[in-house]
Symmetry: C2
Subunit: 390 residues, 2 copies
């Protein structure tokens, strides 16, 4: 097992009717800014419910909507200015990963005086911590299970064609309310995206090389097995509480630091996927579903031991040669994504060989020339992966 | 899945040579009280190493040793008085569960002015939070993997023949250093106790009734499978790093709130076990190993669905009638404990039928008359369990 740090102070409040805890969770004298996305929070009535709960004490409550998918720095600047101008002292994100990520950036940037007027510079620290000493405290009300943002200190922020990570130990939500019922109204395609996103977050931290991280491996396998068991059901039967509750909790657990502590991590698929989203506007999860199987096909040798373990423990594939077992596990994975209505080929999204060079150029521009758990995925290997995904 | 809260802010620093992080983790101007147990921290040199690290900054460092197994209120009072008198502002527990539990109590009690002179009253709140608003901040350096105390807000404190739980959200360690190498010098019997303790912490939260807590079940099963895989090895080969690292991490994960969130919890075995330890001085884990199989024999019907799942997924028992599979899983469990040198019968510890009434009297005295995940283990059922354990 590798050495590691694990720290995650977010208070999770999980289950039916937990919105009523808001009045206990948000300071009673706070000046609150509610942040949300494209309007579904309004349409579904969640926003009104949140405001009703906040009104139970003497809070001042303002709103900032319009934080879309792949939250844009230019949009977030509006919220940052509002926080500074109106002396907001608590943020409450109501939405999915994009709203939560955007809110994290607002929380960090609003208090970071040395970055005032040059907030863009906060996007230059990669996966290392941004140099801030505090942030506006914030909570979240989750409406879309997928990114795990509700229980970590990471965000991904878009700046034009750049999609960049931001991390800070101050960017953990103080609390996150996870009521599976609030996710019932999601379109099926977003639920399917959430299942795939969670699945690939998990394998990025699991299908690497073996280091005797037994708890981590078993826990990752448990998430994958659960997703396979409940994935199609929660897409097809959105109001089945238990299936949805398991998706919500798995999505949180897949990216809160737990399964990645003390084991190697890949993130190759994510880095290529981010470029595809930035260039072509394809949903994050859908880019991952195209790239992940191709990564395994190209890097079968490097990941052999864990791919065999994955085949055995997750898909119960025990017969055949090593290559046969690995190939079967990869095709089972593709079939699983497809069963949720998610395509697994670049060509399914009308991308062709010519687009591959654009993606490679973007990877090069962002310094993504030594990807994977072993750092040996060069641009040439990425080209191979993209070709395998055609 | 049941509704739940999950909150665990302890910063875990895991791995080889992590003691050198102490200087970053403990405030540099702190007045530190190092707490430890019966002397092994001194004998093994851990205490000296800790003091060397703390001396890297201008800290005042005092010591308080002698916190034995099943930490006694009367002993802890000495530390509480020292903290108050010398205005200690950081505690550092170096040891196993007893030292950590004792230190938690010291942390809570020292600042609780309304309890000054009547600290015993802090033991009256059961599993609910004690009414304190703060505590002396503290960290831990783990030397014995077993209790999970390094990453939770619970302690068990002895007051004569009473063994009582204490909980506070202020009783989470700020940090815990988990270096498996520091546990190499433990006697084999203590390592075996740690394996059994971790195993039974896990099943107390898993072998109950089914509520579709799929992540929780799979994670619990992962801990149990890991313990079965590495248990005997880490007892027999104490310096095998990976086996020991997996024990240490599983012990922490078994009782940090994760696997119990959103699922029923039993703790029947622990409540009976605590009385046996208090009355007869038998090691905590050894009492659990006697009682847990008996609980399953007596409550086979109530736990049927989860016992069958346990037989299938943990022991790979798939053949035979339901009763045969359950019986086989129970005997496999007993054999596992025995393989570590841990006895599984009251009579192995020279307890007989006459002692059962003493244990039942103690349970009655402490109000333990409606135990288990369904609250229907009366004193009569406890008698049956104890008889089955003879």
């Amino acid at each position: 097992m590798l050495n590691f740090n694990f720290y995650n102070p977010t208070h999770i409040v999980f289950g039916k009717d937990q919105l009523q805890e808001l009045d206990n969770l948000v300071p009673k004298d706070a000046k609150v800014l509610i942040t949300y996305g494209g309007g579904s929070a309004k349409r579904t009535g969640v926003l009104a419910k949140v405001k009703k709960e906040l009104a139970k004490s003497q809070r001042e409550v303002a709103e900032f909507g319009g934080i879309g998918a792949n939250p844009e720095l230019s949009v977030l600047m509006g919220a940052i200015e509002k926080v500074r101008r109106e002396k907001i002292d608590f943020l409450l994100a109501v939405g999915g990963g994009s709203v939560m990520d955007g809110t994290k950036f607002v929380a960090i940037a609003s208090f970071a005086e040395e970055f005032a007027g040059k907030e863009e510079a906060l996007l230059n620290y990669g996966f290392g911590p941004v140099p801030v000493e505090s942030a506006v405290p914030f909570g979240t009300v989750l409406t879309l299970p997928a990114t795990g943002s509700e229980m970590n200190g990471f965000a991904v922020i878009s700046n034009g064609e750049d999609k960049l990570p931001v991390f800070s130990p101050f960017a953990f939500p103080k609390f996150s309310i996870l009521d599976p019922v609030l996710t019932y109204t999601l379109p099926a395609t977003q639920v399917a995206n959430g299942v795939v996103d969670t699945f690939i977050h998990t394998v990025e931290q699991y299908v690497t090389y073996a280091v005797e991280g037994r708890f981590q491996d078993r826990t990752a396998e448990g998430i994958l097995q659960t997703l396979i068991e409940i994935g199609k059901k929660t897409v097809d039967e959105p109001e089945d509480y238990d299936a949805r509750a398991n998706l919500v909790w798995c999505a949180t657990m897949a990216l809160n630091g737990l399964i990645g502590a003390g084991v190697p991590q890949d993130w190759n698929t994510h880095m290529i996927g981010h470029e595809i989203t930035a260039l072509f506007g394809i949903d994050h999860a859908k880019t991952l579903a195209m790239i992940q199987p191709a990564v395994w096909k190209v890097r079968k040798q490097q990941k052999r031991e864990k791919l065999l373990q994955y085949a055995d423990r997750v898909w119960d594939v025990k017969e055949g040669s090593e290559d046969e077992r690995i190939n079967l596990a990869i095709s089972r994975t593709e079939e699983f994504f497809q069963s949720l209505g998610i395509k697994t080929r670049l060509s399914d999204h009308n991308l062709n060989e010519g687009d591959i060079e654009k993606i490679l150029n973007a990877l090069e521009k962002h310094g993504m020339t030594a990807l994977s758990e072993t750092g040996d995925v060069t641009l040439d290997v990425s080209r191979e992966i993209l070709k395998a995904a055609l």
